[in-house]
Symmetry: C2
Subunit: 686 residues, 2 copies
Amino acid sequence: METATVIFQPSGLRGKISRGRTILEAAREIGENIESLCGGKGACGKCRVLVAEGRYPKYGVESSRNHLSGWQELEARFITPKMQKEGYRLACCAAIQDDILTFVPEESRAAKQIVSKRPRLLAVDYDPVVKKYYLILDPPSRSDSRGDLERVLSALRVQYGLKDLGCDIDMLHSCDIDVLRSLPVRLRQQNWQVTVSVWMDREIIRIQAGRMPNSFGIAVDIGTTTVVASLVQLNSMRILDTQYIINPQVRYGEDVIARVNYHAQNKEGLQQMSMDIVAALNRMITALLKTTWPQGTDNFDYDEAQAQRLKTGEKYLCLIPEDIEDVTIVGNTIMHHIFLKLDPRHVALAPFPPVVQKSLNIKAGNLGINICPSAYVHILPNEAGFVGADNVAVLTAEAPYKSDQIQLIIDIGTNGELVLGNRERLLSTSCATGPAFEGAEITFGMRAAAGAIERIAIDPETHEVIYKVVENDTWSNYAKTGELKTRGICGSGIMDILAELYRAGIINKSGAFRKNLNSPRYRFNPETRQHEFVVAWAAETAIGRDITITQKDIRQIQLAKAAIYTGCKLLMHEWGTDRVDVIKIAGGFGLHIDPVKALIMGMVPDCDPARIIPIGNAAGTGALATLVNRGKRAESDWVARMVESVDLASLKDFKAEFIEALHIPHKKDPFPHLEPILPAEILFQK
Amino acid sequence: METATVIFQPSGLRGKISRGRTILEAAREIGENIESLCGGKGACGKCRVLVAEGRYPKYGVESSRNHLSGWQELEARFITPKMQKEGYRLACCAAIQDDILTFVPEESRAAKQIVSKRPRLLAVDYDPVVKKYYLILDPPSRSDSRGDLERVLSALRVQYGLKDLGCDIDMLHSCDIDVLRSLPVRLRQQNWQVTVSVWMDREIIRIQAGRMPNSFGIAVDIGTTTVVASLVQLNSMRILDTQYIINPQVRYGEDVIARVNYHAQNKEGLQQMSMDIVAALNRMITALLKTTWPQGTDNFDYDEAQAQRLKTGEKYLCLIPEDIEDVTIVGNTIMHHIFLKLDPRHVALAPFPPVVQKSLNIKAGNLGINICPSAYVHILPNEAGFVGADNVAVLTAEAPYKSDQIQLIIDIGTNGELVLGNRERLLSTSCATGPAFEGAEITFGMRAAAGAIERIAIDPETHEVIYKVVENDTWSNYAKTGELKTRGICGSGIMDILAELYRAGIINKSGAFRKNLNSPRYRFNPETRQHEFVVAWAAETAIGRDITITQKDIRQIQLAKAAIYTGCKLLMHEWGTDRVDVIKIAGGFGLHIDPVKALIMGMVPDCDPARIIPIGNAAGTGALATLVNRGKRAESDWVARMVESVDLASLKDFKAEFIEALHIPHKKDPFPHLEPILPAEILFQK
């Protein structure tokens, strides 16, 4: 027998798996979502699972730990001898040799992330790429038996002056073949009255019967971790709905490098990851369309949607995929490449050449995106291999190139992207923050999902800790017992830690725990051989273990913040300035950042805290701006070409600056005058 | 049980068929090729099959004629009471209610047609639409980390002056997404030396590693009955091979109207017919490619083909689908529409508006044509609903618009298309010849397949008939007994008959059998209630019955030739001329025509027989010309717009002219001085 039965608990998912596959591979095949931040390389330790020993007649399997390949040395980095005895393994290390029953502990489950990534619609003009024209045509007659298309083209020329459409001798793209296929019936449906959708004044992408002035588009931001899609009624400039999902590619690794590696190591890896994101986008599009349907409706075709619209007195827009006539997509270079099934390998290797920089317009039908098949999906341009279309979108949204002030824009996602510029010059770079701020490589790090600690304060005298978790507004000192079952620490919580540990005198400027520290929460863990500070006691948690921050974790956070700081400083040096007027922090993450703590811990250069501005999902905002305004699209093409990409690693000062930036706070305490960060009534009451 | 078992003999094909389907539908489903010229409307009588009565343990069925729906009145038109008793039915009339075993007689089998449709390559210049550029690129470096595409585009601009490529702010079509996908690997395969294929100076459709100067294309002529495809090495202007097949759509009806009806009556009809022709083209392409492979080779990918080419010292070109970078397609308007899955319904109804007239360039990948997926398939323009891209191709090939002489070009396919013109003016029309010249609606008519009588001579004294069959050069009076087992009469045979019957005094000028005709071959058939003339006695045939020509058949031929003659005359009248300088007869059919007989029977206007010129497959020749020469492609776009389409039916003289044209010969015997058509030694020897 070549396969083995694998059962996951508590989900109950099961399947027959080829022997020799790892438990993680089996999980991917069966659809069980096991957390994996490193993409299965045994580097993150997030995929711990418990394998049962014994006969389980209920499930029809006899599970044994001996049904797995042998224990590997690297598993010991994440699994203590005690856990090993209990039957814990890393899912990415243990290969299946016979039937097993596996329990996936809570902390190893890839949970749905809470996001605060709502993009805004800028105050730009309505100047869409797809325009709609209403035509009343003469029907064919003996004296005028022109082709259906020729009839439409000539009416567009005569009535609207669209001259570039189909008068070219090559007559390339005046009309999509799919439109031609619908043309005869749509022309005759309402007595030769039609609405024609024209892309860029040069190609007909849709014909509808009758007068149909409404037009709709979708703006998409494909983040490494989160995907955001907004449905927009273009002619009224309204965002109808926004949907968020976790990028399904996190299954293949949390960061972009893990995904490039997954592609490099798996023949079908790129195909698989591309299909995953396309399928996810289609699910999001369906969800967006559904928000325009009467409740209980399941599906529509073109005619049914028309009927429903009439029936409900246009209370419901009843949109079908065909109604979406434009899409803009932004993402970093790797997400861009994977989505388009372009080999991302070289983007990850110096000198990081992308396959393509310029913006692309690709038929939705060719990408498998389920909207009007003749419509174009517009993918914003990449600046360089390490600064992608997402940053172009941020720039297009914030338009520092229209400002006299020197702006520093920091987009902290899984990667950090930095822009420094004003109307004279734009510099950009990318810095390898590593995934620490996203919770990876931190012992109890996790994504910003339910139960994640997102805010922390430490009493400098007692070293008591209070915290707040995602999806709950109550601080822990006010919470009822068992109310805040925490599971780990997410990005914004991790941001707080460094500043708070330092402020409370627990660590020194170099990030090390103070010598002879006497604190009930400070201890040496003999198993991990690490000093650690307890953030939450086992009893307060959902995982039954103390949630701690170790010396190693602190080092990771220092590396991440130093990377950002160094990037900022070197851009400023390259520019020849020692000050910036404004610091804008993008990313859902930016919304949670406490500017003062960012200054204390030395993540950003000196600046008036009031001028440190969170700008939220600026990439998504840029995607929206280019969706509704054709000029913004041209602007993004222009800015992608004119921005100067600086490769930090090639600068000679980089290493020295970086080492210096590891300290907290950088050089000197910048704001000794500042008040305690949390109001006294929170910190000292119970 | 919902299905019944249907077995066809002698092929042995069998299948389970939903009850209620006709035998013809069952044949289509199972893949049995039963002749059907009318598309299953009970109008042609070509689909006679014999249904067995009894138990057939060998096949596991009990077949009964009672397993079919009842006898229909219209079947009696084609099946005599005697045949009925034997178990004959029309396959399109008899619906299956239970298991049957069916025998398909020889004459009802759709046989492979012999074609003489080789297109010629005109002496045009080599000026292809797809041009190849060899580039030696600088690899990426720290100081130049541009995108792969940007690197290629800039080299094309700098080294070859291709300015329109990718410098547009919209940057629409500078590079196909499929090319982008192959770009990184192809660039690096031979150390940044590549050959770039550029379409119309504006879009990259392919990248190959190294220096690859050869380029290849295919020209296709989709006829109603025959499909012809030629593989051309463009840079050497050589036709490497030409393939011919019967258009698989003949299953749905011989003529274009039958196919439009099939679409109108079957929801998936258009889809089905389009898929059939696309699949057929792909089979032809594979066959064409295979002619460039070493014998015994089965399949290649890109790398294997390269290796093979090297191994065989380039003796074999080893072409793979990707190597085909350009395709031109011609066909009449209905074939054009069906191929593109465009609704052909309105083309068949006055005022006959096509869905589109202009030429189209559609990605091969979007049409499912298995060549380089980013390459464009160029479909020539239609002149009007009733004069299609095939006629445009004929015009482009013959270029009457460059001549001072008035040329009459007659393209007799399943439809007749006429052009009259010189450099001043071009008139075109289509005339409903009906399918008589293709063998339909003639009692013993058949396609030009093996066993078809293609030439006839009648001794005016004895009324003895001699004939020649397709695929055999021997006249019947010289043949050994049993050598020429004939099965019916094909187009060119039918062309001869009218002239020969008239010349031998068997019919009069009005086409009626002479009164009191005393001839051993003339008789009244009480079953069909028709007078008939025996062309071949039962013993000489493969079908065991006398092959005859009936009074009704003669009427059909008269209708067909009168349609052509009337069309010619009315075009001349519209032009204002009573003479033409040259008559060109296109179509494989044209090659077989005896100009003198065409004049005698009154099919073409008076003209010096020496100036009646067969031009063969001029549509295919036009497809080839537009494949190798970009200017010819522009010329075809121009000519399609400038030719004036004349709708014969709308001319007031049409009916009178037509009735007059039915006579043989028209008005007076035009060539009383002519010698007997066959040399005496053939006619009077044995």
